[in-house]
Symmetry: C2
Subunit: 155 residues, 2 copies
């Protein structure tokens, strides 16, 4: 097999750790305000990552994909964001091992179309990497050195 469930969990968690560090790298007064080219501020993108991750964990466990409103963020409070983030990190750690491995090759009806469990799981992480990388540009534009990439070096 290409990736074991334990490796996939560690891959996800490694990405979450890096995104958390990027969130902390922003000056607090820029996290929900700084933007380039009309894009959303990084704090709003981080809330979206959180909501998509929560949706994905729920979907993998239950087959239900209840769509949140994720375009606008939940609050402009970094402590609240990180509190929700850490709570979900703990849930992922205990609940991902309970996902039925048969879920991944099967096709599922998601809000945005029919996808395999694999495609749904990896889309979640692609979305995190994509928006986090936009935060890297914001940080550079603010004159701040971002945390080192990549998030995950194995196993």
């Amino acid at each position: 097999m290409i990736v074991s469930p334990a490796q996939f969990l560690e891959y996800w968690q490694g990405n979450r750790r890096l995104t958390r560090r990027v969130t902390l790298a922003f000056p607090e007064d820029q996290l929900f305000t700084f933007s380039i080219g009309g894009m959303r501020p990084f704090g709003v993108l981080a809330w979206e990552i959180h909501q998509v991750s929560e949706l994905t964990l729920t979907g993998l466990l239950t087959g239900e994909w209840p769509m949140p409103e994720w375009r606008n963020g939940v609050s402009q409070d970094r402590a609240e964001l990180l509190g929700a983030w850490d709570e979900l990190t703990a849930r992922i750690e205990t609940e991902m091992p309970k996902v039925d491995p048969a879920f991944f090759p099967q096709m599922h009806q998601l809000p945005w179309g029919e996808m395999s469990g694999w495609a749904a799981a990896i889309y979640n992480i692609d979305n995190e990497i994509h928006h986090r990388a936009q935060g890297y540009v914001y940080l550079r534009a603010l004159g701040i050195e971002p945390p080192a990439f990549p998030a995950y070096m194995g196993p």
Copy 2:
């Protein structure tokens, strides 16, 4: 299993198609010049993606990881970049199915440390998503609507 070799190939190729579209979305005179916060222009990042992808394909097939010089790009010629890109896309299509599935769980010595075959393969794609997303910010800063994300919706 979480992802089959055929799904992983399609996932990689979906990402390559999207990155190619991002490369084409830049005005030719901005591809190798436009930059934010002292970062490399997108054309240079695209050459890096190409070189890491070529290195990864070679590594997966042979176990050899000959490090290229990838910080500075190869040329400032979009047609040359896209020619190399398309050649590699064709190689990936025919050669990835020849990778020994046993390669992925095994540990390998890479230029930047010991990694599983899985970690090496997914790092390559993470790197592509990460730098491509930076290109999205450059395009927005240039007032250009980037191609739709995500790259891959299954199977």
